[in-house]
Symmetry: C2
Subunit: 218 residues, 2 copies
Amino acid sequence: MDYPQPLVTVDAVLLTLRDGCLQVALHRRPAEPFRDRLALPGGVVHVDQDASVEAAILRVLLDKTGFRPRYIEQLGVFSGPDRDPRSWSVSIAFVALVPEAALTEATEGIFHFHSVDALPALAFDHGTIVAAAVQRLRNKTRYSTLPTQLLPQRFTLSQLQATYEAIVGHPLNKAAFRRKIEEEGVVVATDAYTQGGAHRPAQLYEARPVELFDRTIA
Amino acid sequence: MDYPQPLVTVDAVLLTLRDGCLQVALHRRPAEPFRDRLALPGGVVHVDQDASVEAAILRVLLDKTGFRPRYIEQLGVFSGPDRDPRSWSVSIAFVALVPEAALTEATEGIFHFHSVDALPALAFDHGTIVAAAVQRLRNKTRYSTLPTQLLPQRFTLSQLQATYEAIVGHPLNKAAFRRKIEEEGVVVATDAYTQGGAHRPAQLYEARPVELFDRTIA
DNA sequence: ATAATAGTGTCTATGAGACAGTATGCG
DNA sequence: CGCATACTGTCTCATAGACACTATTAT
């Protein structure tokens, strides 16, 4: 039982929709290794504080940003002797989807946002981790209702469609999209409508609530 | 960087098809904790030997069973202070799909096989891990070609269909199944046929090869 | 009225399931 | 020849996309 153990860390890919494209929240590392490079928010698992790796990533996000995501799931484990120059390390990566407003309010000045399609070189193997997160989201978007988590509490069906389109990268058919959303019970209609703008107001919808940590692992 | 670190282990859910139903390979623990309880094959990550957690699980399987699976993927991380009475621990779980013949030859006398739908109480949280593995396989079976990995090198389309049916738990339409398999390019026809039996021989097919570690994470 | 976006009715093409038919080996 | 299983042709129904049409607000 007394082998040297790897360093166990947790990292989060916080995805949000800004300016109509999918962006990831990164911070600039203040210290070595990879000083001044952009990196995912993350930290070390504390066995004396954390009840699980899920609890650890929530603690890290809360400490760093005062912010708790509405949806987060395990992405995968990234490991090896060389990814962190300090030690053989294991990173347990998570993906979280966050509405833009919530994220930018809570993390003013902490995060830099970059479109996931045009990332600079990141610290560690964080570029690989972001790529895996985006691939996961794109795949799941085909058959799940995750993208609702990127929108504020109330949204219109046009906004929801634009969100799906930003993720999958191509336009969707309006009638078909609405039929599908309707029949899947993804969203709940409210009796509120948008106002303002020289056009017909749109009905507002809410996402059906989901589990914070989904174990429906594809 | 000198926090106490969790114990990092790797465990594998080896799934195979026996007697027409999905079964998992388990061994009886020879020592405490959970002595004499059935458990998943697994072991501790050795930072001086292993290049990654993937390398670690392959080493463990090779050492325990002399056997290397044709397909294996990360399932998820199971963690906490109580799942192993010795220490706060992290188990990185994998799912592997294995043809029955390969598995039983290599592991004669090492493993006990149990249908995944009628498991006894397992060591640690291994019951939870098996359930997650089965759920993952059932989900992926809907839109991927994984079940080919449960069959021997060459197989008939009827065998493949029976495999899918055993996994998803309900009968499939023959014509539709063949159309789909055909057009997806899942399998490659050989010019060999079965023989024996008082009926028309069936053409033999082979699975298109897949990556050992798939990162196509749903 | 016009512009602009919301929302719907309907035609069509594509794919899945049902089912019955044909094919071909062995005894 | 007849049985058992392999394989296929075709009908039907459900679903997805295309697209045009109506609806409703502010200016």
